[in-house]
Symmetry: D2
Subunit: 252 residues, 4 copies
């Protein structure tokens, strides 16, 4: 097992970015592969708003990269909600183009969409599902883990002064999405996107009792996504069961 802290420069986000990278155990077979031409399948893994890529060290990500022989890349995204922010970095663009380019140059990862998957936790699940809907030519499969998916509902909560389920208020959501009244049906509304036919495959996975369980079930129906519901508490607060379930589904 190996884990990497990767700090580099991004032109699109105008500065330094950080990512955590998990690479598989170096198998003797590959060490003998004298050309070192092996390219590994890659899972792009998105943290939830208010968290950071370093938090994935608490999950079985490193062990799963080793077990399945894949690379897992978890970039920091701060409060960008996997979106080309109205005021702020064009994170969607960064994630679909610049980050893969940089990482393909630095790590031995596949460019084949069949071997490029995207997953996320909480609002990262929203980001993962959105990216695979909009860019199936890059990401062929997406998983939302304990997804916070309905940004229209979250906007309504924030505008009304209620907790949207992640630490952003109205002004911050405007910085991300621009005019909040125009959100419904926009290119950031995954329920609107889900009404068009999809070529990527989707898994929505959550713990029983998740406050956003209903919005997960609703999106799953629209997307004809697979779902997997795990017993409350089985994740020990750190994806101990959901992330393995996600990987099992992704690699099959």
């Amino acid at each position: 097992m190996a884990n990497i802290e990767f700090n580099a420069l991004s032109v699109i986000t105008c500065g330094s970015f950080s990512a955590r990278v998990f690479v598989p155990e170096m198998d003797k077979l590959y060490l003998d592969d004298s050309g070192h031409t092996k390219k590994y399948p890659v899972l792009w893994l998105l943290h939830s708003d208010g968290e950071a890529a370093v938090d994935f060290l608490r999950t079985p990500a490193e062990a799963l990269a080793a077990q399945y022989g894949i690379v897992i890349i978890a970039p920091d995204q701060h409060h960008a909600l996997t979106t080309n922010m109205d005021f702020g970095p064009r994170y969607e663009e960064f994630l679909r183009r610049e980050l893969p380019g940089i990482c393909r140059n630095t790590f031995p990862i596949s460019e084949d969409p069949a071997e490029n998957w995207i997953a996320g936790v909480g609002t990262g699940g929203y980001g993962a599902v959105k990216m695979a809907m909009k860019y199936p030519e890059i990401f062929s499969k997406a998983v939302a883990i304990n997804g916070i998916l309905d940004m229209e509902r979250a906007i309504g909560d924030a505008v009304a002064g209620r907790d949207p389920g992640f630490p952003l208020g109205k002004a911050s959501l405007e910085a991300v999405f621009g005019d909040l009244d125009a959100f419904h049906g926009s290119c950031n509304d995954v329920y609107a996107l889900a009404e068009k036919p999809q070529t990527a495959q989707f898994l929505l996975c959550w713990e029983e009792g998740l406050p956003t369980a209903a919005e997960n079930a609703r999106l799953a129906q629209l997307l004809k996504a697979e779902t997997k519901v795990l017993p409350t508490g089985s994740d020990c607060g750190s994806c101990q069961k959901t992330l393995p379930a996600a990987l099992k589904w992704l690699v099959k």
Copy 2:
């Protein structure tokens, strides 16, 4: 010498933050100090826009913390320009209240303003000078190293499509400062702030030939700040001479 990577949660910036902390060598004297009540002077050190706190590992910061027996704390600030962003984190508030509170709880640092100093590189110099002008009850001395200070000029450059000297365009500057036409004379305009009497002390330090040398000289005159100009290239691109000069001035 000791260096620390510190990851914690901030209520004000709604999420995780990172800082690099440099602490002095553990002197036998203090190890015998059985109460461990020693509180060290502290330098708050701000990176330039487009850079990150980790970049201070390239500078003599760790060696200087050891040499002078002080703690140096360099927080990440992404693109906040040490400002309560119009769209984004209220970084100024974070830096003057929450970060010191968290750090005073975690590290042995003094709360005495006479032992709390602030410095920054590039746009971090703008931030350092602004903080000490507005909050001299917290920061008694400030240093700008190769400062990019005149945000009105930078805004003009960005609006006209010219390079402002750091990687932010018009939209990003609006996200930080709000209405750009209202910047002149605002609470973020250090030249306007400098016209009022100041109680903190200031050093502006730069390498000869710095593109913003003139705006440094102009602010120095307004502030009656000390200045120090070092030969071109003496910093080796990593504050090898300016940061030692800053520390020498701060501790005297």
Copy 3:
């Protein structure tokens, strides 16, 4: 929750050392504590041979530090087996004197033995139990998690060419313990130490089916230690249940 990577110099081990430090969430109460005199209870946490302190990021250590309001300090110990190596660093000395001194100078931790506990995983459990037996004036409680405790048995395995349960062979064990024939009854033999009356308290905690379950049970009997056996697999390979059980016992 906050996690820290701490790199500093050690005189006793003749070089740099690294530790991971987990500090409690900064409670508003303490932020208002203007003297910042709060000293937290501290758990010294030892990794197993072949692992490293960074691996504790996979465990609930950070969450537990927050939950219980304690500091957890996990130093790297490479292959020292928590021992003053015959050839190599005097790690026992480092751990009982220098590391606490350095950390008490840098972090707000208690010096009261009643608030200094030591725990370890695998061979780190051997180290934790040994330290509390030999230095109860420093560590008042010790926990071994899935402990590998019987070094005499391990030496026998290694000499016979069998796997001792951790990645050290005969020569490496000689580098740690010196003459292996003299190990029995030595100051590194916890079964010999356990025959003397103990003032510290001990918990041995393991997953059912652990290969070293019998040597745990045997030491528990000698020490009149508490034991806790959890179902196989409940730890998800990363102390998800044992470390919380350890903390619950330590703080009560």
Copy 4:
């Protein structure tokens, strides 16, 4: 510029190891290189005894990797002195075989000896020169920066209770080299090795006034190595001039 912290498992050293990796800026040209088959020249960079790979963050290593379009890999070696320790890890074996294999599998680095160079600072310079003498089929060029090269002299100092110039005493040197009386002329004595014809190329580079200047000059003469002596203090304590000089020589 990009820097990487790399943690992985080593079979040969029986545990986790860490390395710092610096990779070149991602040039647009290579981002468009759709096969991502580019392999970069690689410099293996060794720290001195008592220091660690993280210390290279203080040097221009990251900037030089960007400037020259090469990868720089700095592994931690603790107190192994780049040697198959008599008691301890077989570090020489790790460095010539396992580490390159793991890194070639993980990073886009060349296997061509003409593009594999090795350098070191202090006792790392001893290691670098030794490796290139013994394994020119792997490392075609070596640089010692402020090298501490004469281990026979260092052993004499340590045995006599004098400071050998790095923080190891007699017992620690025995753990590395075994019988110290047998050191002279052994496979770890670079002066003995230097009497045989060499196929690799060597640069010895130091600051004027270095205590080991004479032993550098003596080895240079035996090896017909190039030498470069820089003014005292020009390195600012962090290879500001020597490492750029080394790179200039390596890439030409």
